[in-house]
């Protein structure tokens, strides 16, 4: 125990030597990025300072009238519904594509390898484009509707989930699987009775984390005109009703933290 400690401390000393160069590079990157800021034009715009003060004092207290709370609850529900529908669709698409991309279905062969690579490429494109950009595209094509939002969340999230699933399915150790193979199980059976059960805890844990992210994604769909927490925040901001903004922010934070707590408990109980 103490020996691993000592060797790690030695590695640490080596780290300290190369640290200087790394620090220099990172600090350089930060300074370089500061050149992008337009320093001449005034950082804070006229009245910005006062608005900021007003915004901060509006937290004490936030808007708590029953009518507004009702509106906040309805908006939270709307956001939750979009997030849940989006993530369930993402789970279905992600699992299907993830299994194909993992290449664990069927025996190794050139054509199957090509399909796996194609699936991986498809997943990469799906997740490269941000959910809100997808939303803009869908709303432009299909018009304002709940399904446009659900698809806009489901596609990039399926891209992320599919990649993670395929990695988890591939990382299953061969030992237990060989047992199944030697008893004559087909690759499909190895997948269903071996790979998936063994990777399941990690898959569920990660999916719950993504569910939390989906709540945030659903909240910002206001930008394409979909109702929900983000939409109400925007309306209240436009009317300069900062105490209402705070109430809505607190609802959003509460919703996200609730799901965060849920996902932490699930992951803990799965032991991952």
């Amino acid at each position: 125990m103490i020996w691993t400690g000592v060797t790690k401390a030695r590695g640490a000393a080596r780290f300290l030597e190369t640290r200087r160069l790394l620090t220099l590079v990172l600090a350089g990157a930060l300074v370089w990025s500061l050149t992008g800021v337009d320093w001449g034009g005034g950082i804070v715009h006229t009245g910005g300072g006062n608005a900021f003060k007003e915004f901060l004092t509006a937290l004490f207290p936030p808007e708590l009238s029953p009518g507004f709370l009702k509106l906040a609850i309805a908006a939270s529900w709307q956001t939750l519904v979009h997030a849940v529908a989006g993530i369930t669709l993402a789970l279905a698409i992600g699992l299907a594509l993830g299994v194909v991309a993992s290449g664990s279905l069927g025996h190794l062969g050139r054509s199957r390898l090509a399909i796996a690579v194609a699936a991986r490429f498809l997943l990469a494109i799906m997740r490269s484009i941000h959910e809100l950009v997808w939303a803009v595209l869908f709303v432009t094509a299909f018009g304002l509707s709940s399904l446009a939002v659900v698809l806009a969340i489901a596609i990039p999230y399926a891209g992320i989930l599919g990649r993670i699933y395929s990695e988890l399915l591939n990382d299953v150790p061969d030992g237990p699987l060989d047992g199944l193979r030697s008893s004559g199980a087909s690759p499909a059976k190895v997948l269903v009775y071996g790979r998936i059960p063994l990777a399941l805890t990690d898959m569920i844990g990660y999916s719950f984390y993504r569910f939390e992210c989906a709540i945030r994604a659903a909240a910002i769909m206001s930008f394409v005109g979909i109702r929900g927490l983000g939409y109400e925040i925007q309306l209240s901001l436009n009317d300069l009703l900062f105490s209402e903004v705070w109430t809505l922010l607190l609802f959003l934070v509460g919703l996200v933290l609730l799901v965060d707590y849920w996902s932490t408990r699930v992951r803990r109980s799965l032991g991952s």
């Binding site: 401390a9 780290f15 005034g42 950082i43 939750l80 979009h82 910002i220 925007q234 996200v256």
Partner: protein, 297 residues
């Protein structure tokens, strides 16, 4: 209990039977299924579900028209993505967008670097050296609350609020992205310190190291590589989000995206999406190249 020697059928049976430590997970799975059924019923029975559109020919021909417009088919003049001058103009914006993402990660990184140690439980209660005090205990809870709040609010909502105070440009976008990522990386980095192998710290302590030496040789070298890896991973996410933050006049490609869309300059939109994909790919490659250097460092 699943021992290290357990065979596959046992594990499978345990998962299927839902015994022991997986009961909560099982219950929550049922809860999630119920929730998703309610959500789908709510969406599909709502008036504006758009399900009908999905099967109507009109919506699909709209979508096809939109793709044709993006590609600039049957439009007069050359599409923007074939004009070198348009590439140069949007290239400048792409450069600004890249700067914005680096600045955002830089701001988040500096913020985390200052605050992650007192936000780790084993530092605030004195397990890793130092003296526990009521002030440190309070600071721990305050920082954890700040992490949770900044993390829970999406970048775009931060940006919406911030453009009320700051002039539009790269800075408000970077601050909005920085705030959200500060919460994420802060929490993860504090957890790295909490889950740290206490070996090196103990070895140092037993050879008579003081608190500062413990920090410099025992804690920082273990935590920093992990912290930098998180920053790199978040940078990959941030570059995808810069476009979105640009929607609220935070500058860069996102702003141009929105303007082009509202002026119906669809081939410009296509060009911006191409630039966006280039940026995403470049950052992914750069980050993948930097990661081993940090690990080795």
């Amino acid at each position: 209990m699943t021992g290290p020697k357990s065979t596959l059928p046992e594990v499978a049976r345990e998962v299927v039977a839902g015994r022991g430590r997986i009961t909560f997970a099982r219950a929550s799975n049922y809860g999630f299924v119920a929730l998703s059924v309610v959500a789908w019923v709510y969406i599909l029975t709502g008036g504006d579900s758009g399900l009908g559109d999905l099967f109507s020919g009109r919506a699909w021909s709209n979508a096809a028209d939109f793709v044709r417009q993006l590609l600039g088919i049957d439009e007069p003049g050359r599409p923007a993505y074939l004009e070198l001058s348009r590439w140069a103009e949007t290239g400048k914006l792409a450069y600004k967008t890249l700067l914005m993402s680096v600045l955002a990660i830089g701001l988040a990184g500096v913020g985390v670097l200052i605050t992650f140690l007192p936000a780790a439980r084993n530092v605030s209660n004195g397990e890793l050296g130092g003296r526990p005090s009521a002030g440190l205990g309070v600071l721990y809870h305050v920082l954890r609350l700040v992490f949770a709040f900044t993390r829970a609010v999406p970048e775009l909502v931060w940006a919406m609020v911030i453009v009320f105070f700051l002039s539009p440009g790269v800075l408000p976008g970077a601050i909005a992205l920085g705030l959200h990522n500060y919460g994420i990386v802060g929490k993860l980095s504090a957890e790295v310190v909490e889950n740290m192998d206490p070996g090196p710290a103990r070895a140092l302590r037993s050879s008579g190291a003081g608190n500062l030496q413990m920090l410099a040789y025992g804690i920082i070298p273990q935590a920093i590589p992990q912290f930098l890896t998180y920053l790199l991973y978040r940078w990959e996410v941030v570059i995808r989000t810069t476009v979105v933050v640009g929607f609220v006049s935070a500058g860069g490609l996102g702003r141009e995206f929105r303007l082009s869309l509202s002026f119906f300059h669809y081939t410009d939109v296509a060009l911006i999406i191409i630039w966006y994909l280039i940026l995403v790919l470049a950052v992914d490659l750069l980050s993948a190249g930097l990661r081993p250097i940090i690990r080795a460092g």
